[in-house]
């Protein structure tokens, strides 16, 4: 085990080279719906229990199923209303279980990125070969069902190994060259994209995917009242919009249909979307587009700046 994963060097927020988004936007805004499949009876993982109750653990299972049966259509309609194409963090087995959802999102040109196979299969304890196979399976599933080259990764249930990012970058290249496997949502160290060191040396970025704005973290972990969550989203945007006048920032709202799409929570989410998309100078986009733009336009200058500033001056 390491004291530091070594993915990035210390890089102060102040005085960085300016990031410029398309059309002079201040904030790159994206919404990342997690479309997940949890198994009712997953195999046990020695390091993490999937459910608190013995099989059948229906309280947790059934509310997550609600997200797919009921919640998805609500969020999809809402994002469409505000001109947002979702960037889906996908349990890729859902392509097999619920292809209707995949088809509808593909028709709307939403992005699909890998969130593993099931959210009840954890990376913990996998050998390098096993994790590589799981990641490859997920990228191939996305390609088979949508034709897309998977650009991004969020480890299933945020379960990682030391090699997760390396393997994702490598498998992406093996399958589709530089057009796949070039960004991660697994790190929460910044409000701007940052270069990530992987062992292949590929141009690979971390794209801000805010844990604090994540509806499940807000509602389930932090137990926040819906209207306060809506206000937090607006406050988060206001500050990133203000700072984005100097150098482009990124705001992400990660969502889950079993949380944000409940009838008593839709209003807060809608008010925030209306507020954010009602501003000019906001680039309403996808995770892939942000990562591509950053890598194509700002990656080299960022790497150089990090190297120049690593010696304290």
């Amino acid at each position: 085990m390491k004291a530091d994963p070594g993915f990035y060097d210390y890089w102060p927020y102040e005085n960085r080279p300016r990031i410029s988004w398309p059309d002079g936007a201040r904030v790159a805004f994206w919404v990342a719906p997690n479309i997940e499949f949890y198994e009712l009876d997953p195999p046990p993982n020695p390091q993490r229990k999937a459910w608190p109750q013995p099989y059948p653990a229906l309280p947790g299972y059934s509310i997550r199923d609600y997200g797919n049966r009921v919640g998805h259509m609500r969020q999809m309609a809402l994002l469409e209303k505000y001109g947002v194409r979702g960037s889906i963090s996908l349990s890729t087995a859902l392509c097999d279980h619920h292809p209707e959802i995949i088809r509808m999102c593909a028709e709307r040109e939403w992005e699909f990125f890998s969130h593993g196979i099931y959210n009840t299969r954890y990376t913990y304890g996998m050998s390098e070969a096993q994790e590589r196979e799981m990641i490859r399976d997920s990228i191939e599933s996305i390609h088979k069902h949508t034709g897309q080259h998977c650009a991004g990764y969020l480890a299933p249930a945020l379960s990682h190994s030391e090699l997760t990012l390396d393997l994702f970058a490598e498998v992406g290249s093996e399958l589709f060259g530089d057009d796949a496997g070039f960004y991660t949502c697994d790190l929460f160290h910044d409000d701007q994209p940052t270069p990530i060191n992987t062992r292949s040396g590929k141009a690979f970025a971390s794209i801000p995917y805010s844990l604090e704005m994540n509806d499940t973290i807000a509602y389930v972990v932090n137990k926040i009242e819906p209207r306060r969550y809506g206000q937090m989203l607006k406050d988060n945007f206001d500050r990133l919009y203000q700072e984005g006048a100097n150098s482009g920032t990124v705001m992400c709202i990660p969502t889950h249909n079993y949380q944000v799409s409940c009838p008593h929570r839709m209003r807060a989410f809608e008010e925030a979307l209306e507020y954010i998309t009602g501003h000019s100078e906001v680039w309403v986009t996808t995770g892939r587009a942000i990562a591509r733009h950053f890598i194509d336009n700002h990656y080299q200058q960022s790497v150089a700046d990090i190297a120049a500033r690593s010696g304290v001056n």
Binding site: D41, Q53, A57, L58, Y66, E225, P226
Partner: protein
Amino acid sequence: MPLDNDYLRYPRRKYGMDHDRYDWSLLTDRRPVQWPGDARLAVWINVGLQFFPLNQRGKPFAVPGGMTMPYPDLRHFSLRDYGNRVGIYRFLDAFDRYGIKPGFAFSAQLAERAPYLLRRIVERGDEILCHGWNMDSLHYGGMDQQEEAELVERSLKRLRELSGQPVTGWISPARNESEHTPELLAANGVRYFCDWVNDDMPYPFHTANGELTAMPLPTELEDAFIVMNNLHSEQSWLEQVCDACDYLLAEANEQGGRILALNIHPWMLGQPHRIGKLEQALEYISSQDGVWMAYPSEILDAWRSAAADSA
């Protein structure tokens, strides 16, 4: 040691659900439902009338809302009892004022212990559901099958004897089940149950002993979940209920009849400082256009006949 390679095999990875309990279906793909009188929103207020034993076993887990202190936990025992002695009578007044037709989910043992309360509910003519034997008699995976069969039969039989009602609705304590619970419910004359919180409308649920209907009763909108579990304010509970009511009414305009099912507890909202919020919620809901106050069995029957009409 790495995981067994079986961890990367997915025998249930195919179309539909990963079990055979019900069919996969998007809510929006189903035929719109028409409620009686062209109502858009059926409103079912459900009251949990629960007995939490002082000598809680907590098997296989301590029921939420139950005893948390070393024995004898007089604090929680008596505070839960408060609901059945005091809070419930505030509820009844509020229901009458706003024309509510509530369902009462009884711990069967409470019906034995509080005959006055049971008679009062029976005389009102409201619907009684079975909420298990008591809150510490949990149904859970791996429990002895004979023990559970006896528990289900005893709970329903006793509640039917005492109430004189057919009692065809069921809510498991803590909404927890064993792998056999649905079969046992179907075998004992239950028509609908409310443990699976995966839909906003009823849907058919398969058992080896015939079909049940799963009725929606969202945990996430419960008083105990919002106020006790999440520590939200009473005002926030009211806002969340009103927001849900607005949202479902609007959705019903586009997609056909919807249900606002609200599960509440007299030990929580029956407190003097909270009852006003319940009254405001009921006032708000009952003043909306297109609302149908109904017992759960009435909603179930209307849903079934709407489904039959469209078949």
